[in-house]
Symmetry: C2
Subunit: 314 residues, 2 copies
């Protein structure tokens, strides 16, 4: 297989484009100056950048894993507004010394994440660089729903999460330490599996505030509390923990709860609902919005451990 | 001024966001999982990635120049469809050792390009990296117009460009060779000045095909000819050349025409119009769509020099 630097930009795009998923909402797809999309309702848009050796490592992730994860975490952001994802724009910066095959498999990963949801890749750009970075902009439509913001949580609302937490951290811990205790959690770190659609269901159940849990439950609870100007108290015993977490943590003398509270990267959702709401399937209540303070308490105490920062201090 | 790695992601975003331009079309701007935009008509969307030492050099471009150029070349892509740009999503990957000031001035450049057009930055992401890369997704609206594609050129159409070419190349040549002959062309290389709106005017004048000239006139004429399945013949004497080109080329024994034909990066537009169309103001006819061959002829000959490739062979 040739290297990217040997084939040129136009030839690379010609190889790459046929592997991308398509969407019936596209009036015009890749290949022109811009794509054109017909939307039902308002546009909901979110972007993430993933950088080699910060958000992924080539030793751990195949190119398809990188594409899959990049797509899925952006789709989760659209779902977190109660909107329906429709399409992605993808830009890729990649060293000319990279195999063309890497770029084609990256497209395969995008397709594996998007195709089951009817989401297409409608455009983007590709360039040389010294390290791989991927930037994805996800485009969604409101379909008449009012987007659910972070700022709408109200006193006595129920706080809930859309899925079991900690698996991505259990997977990351194994990869970081060269362990192979549990393959499920490694897979979930490399290819997060948020339940896309859980956010739309929460919106329809009148969620008052919602967000994607990307940097760890405690960190993201604090962000939601700050945006809403309220306090949140959760009970740790009610936090759903992915079964793989105990399998891994038990072997390495770590706390499964710590991983579920601070791990991040699972990309399940966090939301608040009015009192006595019947939560949609898969949503688990973990606490309440309090009036007592602005911030987060876990079992009545202010937590001391937090989640990810993409500019960690040295 | 502190370094990015010293302040953390949330603090950096809090400093950065107030400098960004806003748009009245945003129902929800930065700060949530996604932004929400109300569009008039269909969505038109385009993305570009700019990588340090490939698309810009920190020795040549201030941070504001990088932001300005990144914004403007994306806005030109929306205009090239005959659509109206509304908003940008911006992702930035930047080394933690970079001054916070660089990032804030980058935001200033985005604002200087966008604000006069009413375009806002409605969201994005920021991460650490080893080199600076900027990915921009421009979002536009059709406002009831039919987007003008590259594929609609027809036999006997008039081929025209929306502004004088070659200035960016004249600026690039000076910077590359440590010369300071003409500051206007250097400025135009660092901050391209396409006439945003020229594309909408061309659309209203029934342009049959249109595109942004980003990689050089001859290269982009060839792309349009290929997409439309036709041939194009231009007369070099009719190609408008920016006055700064002669000032620079005269001093360095280069051909002004070569720079105008192959230079790229001016971000003016190329379009085809039906015969006898009265061209909108600023559009200059340079040739015709022929039936004789598929490809480009300049003064009756196939040109041998082309434009940019972002994966140049070693």
């Amino acid at each position: 297989m040739p290297l990217i630097g040997d084939v040129g930009e136009d030839a690379l795009i010609a190889l790459f484009s046929p592997r991308l998923p398509t969407t019936t909402s596209a009036l015009l797809g890749p290949g022109d100056d811009a794509a054109v999309l017909s939307l039902k309702g308002d546009l909901v848009v979110s972007s993430d950048v993933l950088v080699q050796d910060r958000h992924f490592r080539r030793e751990w992730s195949t190119a398809a894993d990188v594409g899959y994860r990049a797509a899925m975490q952006n789709l989760a952001d659209i779902d977190a507004m109660g909107a329906v994802p429709v399409a992605l724009q993808v830009t890729l910066a990649v060293p000319p010394s990279t195999d063309v095959e890497w770029v084609l498999e990256f497209a395969d990963g995008l397709r594996e994440a998007c195709e089951p949801l009817g989401v297409g890749v409608i455009g983007g750009d590709i360039s040389g660089s010294r390290e791989i970075s991927v930037s994805i902009t996800a485009l969604g439509e409101t379909r008449g729903r009012t987007p659910v913001r972070r700022s709408g949580a109200r006193i006595n609302n129920v706080v809930a999460v859309s899925g079991p937490l900690g698996a991505a951290m259990a997977g990351f811990h194994q990869l970081e330490n060269g362990l192979r205790i549990d393959s499920e959690s490694i897979d979930l770190f490399l290819r997060p599996q948020p339940r896309i659609g859980a956010g739309v269901e929460a919106c329809d159940a009148r969620a008052t505030a919602m967000m994607d849990i990307s940097d760890g439950l405690v960190t993201d609870l604090a962000r939601l509390a700050l945006a809403s100007g309220i306090g949140i108290a959760i009970e740790s015993a009610r936090v759903p923990i992915h079964p793989s977490v105990a399998r891994v943590a038990g072997q390495v003398v770590a706390s499964p709860l710590d991983w579920a509270l601070t791990g991040g990267e699972d990309h399940h959702l966090l939301a608040t609902f009015p009192p006595r709401t019947e939560l949609p399937g898969g949503w688990v209540p973990i606490g309440l919005v309090t009036r007592e303070h602005e911030g987060v308490e876990v079992d009545g105490k202010v937590p001391t451990r937090w989640g990810w920062d993409h500019f960690p201090r040295a």
